[in-house]
């Protein structure tokens, strides 16, 4: 998909540019550093706090690279809701993105209980505390256009869409593109190029 998109754009350009490599970018799992945009004064905090600040910034950025179907994000809606399921590991980290504008909408953060109000969420963060209940949670989200973000082993294998993991002391993420398709979401090839892609 990434290749097609690139080629489609390049073909419109002059011949001198035609020689751009077909594969601009191999999907490799690469480290992602601190998103300085979202995380001011990051160096002053503890590693724990800093990790969640980075994750919060990543979630904010994910929204930019994900397209929701029109029903899930109707015209005229004012907010994009980031819902945190049950236990909130972010503490105040999500406050830094709360109220910011993305896709012309304000970012709102809500805490929810399983099985309730899920249809108003565009992004649902599922913390590690929900590990055992994950299959159920995933099931409850079936049919909804919700970007699920988690931070536990086998999250994407069990049907989650984006999962954070830490490698070489850097926050990275893996993406299950099939899950995303099932949720009716379109992910930017650029996002995929930064992620470890899983198909299941």
């Amino acid at each position: 998909m990434a290749v097609d998109l690139l080629n489609a754009r390049i073909l419109k350009l002059s011949t001198s540019l035609r020689a751009l490599p077909a594969v601009l970018r191999l999907a490799t799992i690469t480290g992602a550093g601190v998103a300085s945009v979202a995380v001011p004064n990051a160096h002053a905090q503890s590693p724990e706090v800093r990790e969640y600040q980075i994750k919060a910034a990543f979630i904010y950025n994910f929204i930019k690279f994900v397209d929701w179907p029109r029903d899930a994000l109707p015209e005229g809606s004012e907010t994009i809701n980031i819902c945190v399921l049950r236990d909130d590991p972010f503490a105040d980290a999500l406050e830094s993105i709360k109220g910011k504008t993305v896709k012309s909408r304000r970012v709102a953060v809500r805490r929810i209980e399983p099985g309730r109000d899920l249809e108003t969420c565009q992004v649902v963060f599922i913390g590690s505390s929900e590990g055992k209940r994950l299959p159920r949670v995933i099931e409850s989200l079936q049919g909804l256009n919700v970007l699920t973000v988690g931070e536990m082993d086998r999250f994407v294998e069990l049907g989650g869409i984006i999962n954070f993991f830490v490698q070489n002391n850097r926050v990275r993420f893996e993406i299950n593109v099939n899950s995303a398709e099932r949720a009716g979401l379109k992910l930017s090839s650029q996002l995929l190029s930064l992620a470890k892609v899983v198909r299941q």
Partner: protein
């Protein structure tokens, strides 16, 4: 050749410049698009702060051989990733110096990267200009090749064109040069082609032809004028009328292309024509023709032309109508018979004096209308000659008549004077005898009457003598008899004669004679008469004062002056006093007496001696008469 090369070069340079500018703009645009693509592909890497991913994106520029360097900058201008060709792999870390913003000899663009309405970084790409310079070099070599090739083609073409254009033009120039050097307008250029140059040659030849034609016309006209000029000069020579007319006709023959010319004069009485002169005749013809006389009424066309005073032209096409033919027997004169001829009346000072005729008896060609004007000129020349001859004859005749009449008059006067003198001498003689008491004592009363008779008789005798002298002079009968004389004697004779008169009027007479007066030769009696007349006049018109007679000699002449203190003579009258029967004031004739002939006679006598007489005077200043008389007259001058 040089011009076209320069033009080609300029046009080429302009095109190349335009192309290079366009090319550079296209390069710049392409580079900008490339930067935008790379920038777009780098948004995720920038957003997730993945430098390795950014470097990998930049590394895709490896396929672009002209990219010199590329850099991705983060939101705060922090160097995020960099690319430089030749590096083995994309580097996540920035190179030492990053991207220089002002690479010389490079084309660089810098574009902001905007994602979701938010600027998230900047991309900078710099391209070398190898392609640009390569194009420039290519153009330069192509340009040199094109100029070389076009020069070669141009040279070949010009060699060919020279054959087509230059050669005929050079030929034309040569012809023009020949014409101007030799002033020979019969030269013609040879036409070699039917193009513009051919037309030029045609035009040149046409021009020459016209000049030649005009030249010939001018020569002919100048020749005609020359003939006419010589003719009018000849007319002033003292030639007989026949000779003059022959000259006119010969001149006409040289100017006008007509076979024969002849002139008829109308004889006094205007009833007959006489053949006066001709040209172009054979001797035989002329014998037939010379001095033929034809009555005007029988002369046909000639009679008509003379009668109407207008020219008539006949040709074979417009033949002579039968009523205008010559009547027999004149029609039998073969020399006259012709079919193509012109008759011009000759008119001088408004008088018709004859006919000027020209014919083409031999060539039978019609007389050309344009020659009529010329013929008219010759006709009027001939007319003037005829008329002049007539006038001259007339004047000669009148002069002769006048001369005879004048002679008769003078003879009559001379006879008359002589006849008058004879009885008068008898009267005077007897009166003197009576006064001398020959016939007895005469009473004082009768003596007084007789003295008056004597005085009047002497006056009358003087008058008769003067008239006789004058008539002798007029008749050419007055002669001078040349003898040696002494002017001193002349002066004393005069003084003796006038002394009683001077004494009577109580005037003073002084005489001044140069001591060395030469012996003169002339008519002493006449010279005495002149001096007596001058002194007598002086006494007669002077009431008080003196009369001075002065005689000197110089340059072979006596210089005589008689000065008085009389009333003087006005300037206008000084001209008239030497004319016959003239006195200054006609009233003076009555008081002073005299005939008024004295000075006229004196003047004639002095002139007969080859001398001069003049007067200097002004009213109230007296008069001085001066005579210059040759000392020795050799031949008497008859007046």
């Amino acid at each position: 050749m040089v011009t076209s090369s320069v033009t080609l070069l300029l046009a080429g340079a302009a095109y190349v410049t335009y192309d290079l500018i366009t090319f550079r703009q296209a390069m710049s645009r392409d580079l900008m698009i490339l930067a935008d693509i790379i920038g777009n592909n780098s948004t995720a890497a920038l957003a997730f702060d993945d430098q390795q991913a950014g470097a990998a994106t930049l590394a895709s520029l490896r396929a672009q051989e002209h990219i010199a360097s590329a850099c991705l900058y983060g939101k705060e201008g922090r160097l995020f990733a960099a690319y430089a060709p030749g590096e083995p792999s994309p580097r996540p870390l920035p190179p030492r110096d990053g991207c220089r913003r002002s690479d010389r000899g490079h084309l660089a663009v810098s574009r902001p990267i905007v994602f979701d309405g938010e600027p998230i970084g900047t991309i900078y790409i710099s391209s070398d200009l190898d392609e640009f310079y390569g194009r420039l070099r290519r153009y330069a070599s192509i340009g040199v090749l094109v100029i070389l090739a076009s020069s070669l083609v141009g040279w070949v073409l010009s060699v060919q064109l020279q054959r087509v254009i230059s050669r005929p033009i050079l030929h034309l120039v040569q012809a023009a040069k020949t014409v101007s050097e030799r002033t020979d307008y019969s030269v013609r250029a040879v036409k070699q082609s039917e193009d513009e140059v051919g037309l030029l040659v045609d035009g040149f030849n046409e021009m020459l032809a016209q000049i030649e034609k005009r030249d010939a016309a001018l020569t002919r006209m100048s020749n005609n004028l020359n003939q006419l000029y010589r003719l009018s000069t000849a007319m002033q020579e003292p030639l007989s009328l026949r000779d003059q007319l022959t000259r006119v006709l010969e001149a006409a023959r040289q100017v006008v292309a007509v076979d024969r010319f002849y002139i008829w004069a109308v004889l006094p009485g205007e009833t007959r024509l006489a053949a006066l002169a001709g040209a172009g005749f054979s001797e035989e013809e002329w014998k037939d023709f010379d001095r033929v006389e034809i009555p005007l009424v029988e002369a046909g066309a000639m009679g008509k032309a003379y009668g109407e005073g207008a020219p008539l032209v006949f040709t074979e096409a417009t033949p002579l109508p039968s009523e205008l033919r010559l009547r027999p027997p004149y029609s039998e004169i073969r020399a006259i018979r012709t079919k193509s001829f012109i008759v011009l009346p000759m008119i001088a000072r408004g008088r018709r004096v004859g006919l000027f005729t020209a014919d083409n008896k031999w060539s039978r060609q019609p007389i050309l209308p344009q020659t009529v004007d010329l013929l008219q000129i010759f006709a009027s020349h001939a007319a003037v000659a005829v008329e002049n001859a007539r006038l001259f004859r007339e004047i000669e005749e009148k002069g002769h008549q006048l001369e005879v009449a004048s002679k008769h008059k003078s003879q009559f006067l001379a006879n008359m004077s002589h006849e008058l003198r004879t009885p008068l001498n008898a009267i005077l003689g007897y009166t003197e005898l009576i006064l001398d008491n020959i016939y007895g004592e005469v009473s004082a009363k009768i003596r007084d009457v007789l003295e008056r008779v004597q005085k009047s008789g002497r006056h009358l005798l003087g008058l008769i003598n003067d008239v006789l002298d004058l008539s002798k002079i007029e008749a050419g009968q007055l002669t001078v008899s040349l003898n040696d004389y002494s002017f001193k004697e002349v002066v004393y004779a005069v003084v003796t004669a006038v002394e009683p008169l001077v004494a009577e009027k109580k005037l003073r007479l002084s005489v001044s004679l140069a001591p060395d007066l030469p012996v003169g030769r002339g008519d002493e009696r006449r010279i005495t008469q002149v001096l007596l007349n001058l002194v007598g006049n002086a006494i007669k018109f002077t009431d008080a004062g003196e009369i001075t007679v002065r005689v000197t000699s110089a340059n072979g002449a006596f210089l005589v002056s008689v000065a008085d203190t009389g009333p003087g003579i006005s300037e206008a009258d000084q001209q008239k006093i030497f004319e016959e029967f003239h006195q200054v004031d006609s009233s003076a004739t009555r008081t002073k007496g005299g005939t008024g002939l004295g000075l006229a006679i004196a003047k004639r006598i002095i002139e007969m001696h080859g001398g001069r007489i003049k007067v200097e005077s002004a009213p109230g200043r007296g008069s001085t008469f001066s005579v210059t008389l040759p000392t020795r007259v050799t031949v008497s001058e008859t007046s």
